[in-house]
Symmetry: C3
Amino acid sequence: MFYFVIDILGTIAFAISGVLVAMEKKLDLFGVIIIAFVTAIGGGTLRDLLIGDTPVVWMRDSVYVITISGTVVFAILFRKKLRYLRTSLFLFDTIGIGLYTMVGIEKGVQAELLPVMCVALGTITASFGGVLRDILCNEIPVIFRKEIYATACILGGSFYFLLTYLTVKDQYAFLAAIVLVISIRLLAVRFKIALPNIYS
Amino acid sequence: MFYFVIDILGTIAFAISGVLVAMEKKLDLFGVIIIAFVTAIGGGTLRDLLIGDTPVVWMRDSVYVITISGTVVFAILFRKKLRYLRTSLFLFDTIGIGLYTMVGIEKGVQAELLPVMCVALGTITASFGGVLRDILCNEIPVIFRKEIYATACILGGSFYFLLTYLTVKDQYAFLAAIVLVISIRLLAVRFKIALPNIYS
Amino acid sequence: MFYFVIDILGTIAFAISGVLVAMEKKLDLFGVIIIAFVTAIGGGTLRDLLIGDTPVVWMRDSVYVITISGTVVFAILFRKKLRYLRTSLFLFDTIGIGLYTMVGIEKGVQAELLPVMCVALGTITASFGGVLRDILCNEIPVIFRKEIYATACILGGSFYFLLTYLTVKDQYAFLAAIVLVISIRLLAVRFKIALPNIYS
């Protein structure tokens, strides 16, 4: 139940972030809906395709489509109020990447992939929706240019495998990794920490 | 036989629309060929990947590759005459999306997906080739910005499930849905109907 | 062993070409890493997805991830020296597309696809990484605009099937095709041969 709530909150946050970007680009109603969907399910879709777990998850469970549709309706109706929610949205989004990272890792473990591949899968799950959103809106993906985002996923995912290697119980390691992803992301934004500049 | 002819006409129309966009962008011969292929088979490819029906359909049946290759040769040879064909092309394209929508839905039904997922699959089949074409040509996909396109697919696909729910015979519902997709698209273009503006 | 060395050299060359493009776009460290990976494994990933051979190859064998990671570290450390290596890089890249083409064709043959589909798979394997690199960097893919690149793959791949049709022993045909891809590419660049201009 707890995981489910977080998963849905993450989906909502990703969908809203898609709506915001699509509306900035003045896309039409259909464009906004598609960008919201792609942002919310793009990462999980690529993950499922890469490991061959098809039909992809959102096609098997309608809760994602229903959640995203409801979110888009809500976001468009209250589009003028959305700016006041920026902080909450950022929190949802951050919680979302924490959970999505671990969902992806879990799937990789089930598919018996090596830890490094699992971490890659987790990072893809958490970040690829945003990448697709930016490509469809004809932008260089924001996570390639700014802030610590995927880096948080990679560090958190690696921490999970470190803990399980140290024989920490799986569910504790799982939770600790989520907390680490979220903490790194929050601290990076709060203190404006970015990746080292490689151009100087 | 009837379906096959329409399918091929749709493939031709999509391929020509790819050639036209690629030539506007001054791509080289290979670029034009690729864009033509991607436009014609992109939607079906994504559909097959999402439901895990691989190798994807154009790899198993060479009729698509042959049709598209012939179309590209023809389109390049007669590139100066293509503008006179715009109306016929638009008709082919519209018939194409009608049929592609239902082909996608049919595949979804066979994969035992929920109706809403089938409609999504149909819409992806009909519209994703054009999306890929525009991404490869570095444009925001035209269907996110203008006119009723995917909306026609969604309404037609939903109508199909409504009819089958009302126990209409499958092949009649199939045909009625194709006619509806085509009609909505034609009427939308004829009377310049667009999606409601969400920015006012 | 021979194939393995060439494969790794190809992967390195593709990864470096990704680093170079990403640094031109001033992406951050994560962006550079991702573009390097995508350039090196994008073609093989799409190939595996299209034929349904999942998990995709780089997820099953860590040699690719290790090679690419090492290459990125090296390329960033010695980024100011990379321009002196341009000729060697071009050679690696050219050898890479020769081999990648045949790896893709081999996979297609194993999946019992028609020769024309195998050639398409080979061309995708060799060229799609570069296409993804350019899309992610918000450019029209360079292979759609310049030089003989995919054309070399297509001609080399077709030559392979011609030779096997003439009952040439498989490994000789394989090697001859690689040599042909490499030769066409080298000659095209050396003598500035491009595809015929279709816009005059």
